[in-house]
Symmetry: C2
Subunit: 149 residues, 2 copies
């Protein structure tokens, strides 16, 4: 296992549109993707692109903020928000070169891997590892995309 | 205000050495800085460097993980850990070009800015903004370093 790029920090919110306005108007973000619904995780999602060192905003720019609004209170994010009603940092996501190898690695390390790899918000395979086995951080492992984010 | 580079994600831990071992042995990090004590925040700190898109690990590589172990249970991080004993994501830090301007900006936005700018773990001026005014995220604003991290 080799530490990959920090793809994004997942931030749960009870109101995606209000959060988009916050990142645009308060934080000064100029590049926020169009929200879409990710049915498999019962969330409405968009990404706030942050600049690289150069200040460039390209498709492989800085670590993104992934904003997540549950579409169902019974979803994982919905339940998390019930405990953290104002929202906040929900998970962290690292890229890997080989999702199947990473999945086997975390299982071999005795970590509680939450299900089989499945398609994530960037269209590549992802899985989650339980925060209790990851120093308190719900951790998403994501197949590195071939092209952009 | 213009959204700056996502400098780091602050992760609190009750045991910095165990966390370093976790990032090295489980996550596969190859570049972790030497821990040091930041007296002003009563924490022992180090940074896990994550690769950029190119896989390069240079001084302005990817967003860092800042590991924080309190040196005093009465510190801000110590109190946070008392509520979150296994540790986890504590704050998020964005760079700005002008710390004084950013300080004035957040105050003008009616955000609770936690004190005056002071020297942070990267040796440049920083301040924090209250999570209740920042969508649930304790947010650090940091003067962009002239050179490396």
């Amino acid at each position: 296992m080799k530490l990959g790029r920090l793809n994004h920090v997942g931030v749960a919110t009870p109101d995606l549109d209000a959060s988009i306005a916050f990142y645009r108007d308060v934080m000064g973000a100029s590049d926020i993707t169009e929200p879409f619904v990710l049915e498999s995780q019962k969330v409405r999602v968009c990404f706030v692109n942050t600049p690289r060192d150069s200040g460039a905003l390209d498709t492989r720019g800085g670590t993104q903020i992934e904003l997540l609004e549950p579409t169902d209170p019974d979803s994982a994010v919905g339940k998390w928000l019930a405990r953290n009603p104002m929202g906040g940092q929900h998970h962290i996501c690292y890229e890997v070169e080989d999702i199947a190898q990473a999945h086997a690695w975390f299982i071999a390390q005795g970590k509680r891997v939450l299900g089989e790899p499945r398609i994530g918000a960037h269209g590549t395979m992802i899985f989650f590892v339980h925060p209790k086995d990851m120093n308190g951080q719900l951790t998403e492992i994501m197949q590195r995309p071939a092209g952009g984010h």
